[in-house]
Amino acid sequence: MLKNVTLGQYFPGATPVHRLDPRTKLIFLTGYIVALFLAKNWASYALIFFTLAAVSYTAHIKPKTLLSGLKPLLFIVVFTALINLLYGTGEPLYTFWIFRITRQGIHNAIFMVLRIMMLVCGTFMLTYTTSPLSLTDGLELLLNPLKKIRLPVHELSMMMSIALRFIPTLIEETDKIMSAQKARGAAFDTGKLTDRARALLPLLVPLFVGAFRRADELATAMECRCYHGGEGRTRMKQLRFSGIDFAAFSLCALLIAAVCVLRAFGL
């Protein structure tokens, strides 16, 4: 049951998109989002959509997978569309009660929905094609300059990788303990709210005990391997930009430039 929770699920693969340096993907995503917010007309939206489609085709991520990721956001999307649709400005095409439907409103609603959907899909493209560990690695390297202002970049990214690593473990453990307590007659899904809250105790206590035990073991294991923070630490997997990374950068620059031009000419 809890297995269905996907937190930025990663689909392993060996496509060019998977092989891109995580830093490239992070920068590309940023550029993509900038382009999305600069876009003002059909032509630039089409261009951005084309980019997204090309990337997902190259990465072998099916449109269905991307769309199914949108499901939890359905409410927000519909809500935004309605607000934009009902409170448009300009010449009304149709009015009822306090609402005015205008050409501008329809236009805004469509663009807003497209923007949210493409934004979310773009972000999914990143997490679908990048393992959480290489993502934090990339993030750490990109944020490295912030060490100058004493931001503990290495520690933060280490914490993030450990947290990501243990999410599935904790979910599995929760599942197991829940089953074990249900086998002893615990009822998690029936009864009054107070009963249910009390019923969580047999789940939470072993879960926390387990989490602390794990943390302890992990700390010992790290110290046994002489971990002492980020100072002077080298990496096994050196991140290096290669040909496809530069190609991706060019593509990203081109996209932003094109969107800017289209915006300037107001096409």
Binding site: K3, F11, E173, K176, I177, S179, A180, Q181, K182, A183, R184, G185, A186, A187, D189, T190, L201, P202, V205, P206, V209, G210
Partner: protein, 287 residues
Amino acid sequence: MPIIKVESLTHVYSRGTPFEKVAVDGIDLEIEKGEFVGIIGHTGSGKSTFIQHLNGLLAPHTGRVIIDGADPASSKETARDIRFKVGLVFQYPEYQLFEETVYRDIAFGPRNMGLSEQEIDEHVRRAAYFVGVPESLFESSPLELSGGQKRRVAIAGVMAMRPQVLILDEPTAGLDPAGRENILENICNYHRTTGATVLLVSHSMDDIARIASRLIVFSHGRVALDGAPADVFSHAAELKDMGLAVPQATEIALALKKRGVDIEESIYTINYLRKLLVSLRGEVGPC
């Protein structure tokens, strides 16, 4: 009427995703009241998945399970009733302990059954006695006990519900030989005194050969072999193909046979082997 009846049971994990996995694949079984069944199979053969269907923790994707005439999938209430009838001890059950004291942890199941304080007390003391948890430990925190003691308390927590069917998933994993011996003895004891049906999942052929009256061998989510230990262990080659071993006694008997000694093949306990060897030596004369 069999107490457990399983009809073409299938269970698929993560159905409809790229990670789909058929864990249990069309199992038909009947288990009679009072049987002591050993379940063996390689890692990932679906044993744990299978036993979680027997008390309604998992619902079958196809097929059905009937426990003592009732189907746990029929309603939440039936499932809960069945959980008191079918006690399930999970792999590494010590990680489920949560109460402040050993006594209260063992009492968790009986309390959920809605018994009176006096009945709870009786159940707890009896269960603790079965697994050899002394009353002097009742007031200590379960988290302070040793691994073996924790395991015992956890098993007592299930036994305290006095289930008609007791299922244990590798109750001896990770214990020292004396602790293993002890826990197996406790389980046999429970079986003998209460007449309950017991299902024991184990990776130790020697243990299971000694105490089970029927063996069910799982392989890739199906039942590969099912019968008395002697029958099952006479399929030594098949068992080896499935990545399983035969008991040491069988191993020795097979090796002797290969060297031309006239000996039964379906030997599976050390005691019986010893008896046979002694009688053989009597025939051959001291060497």
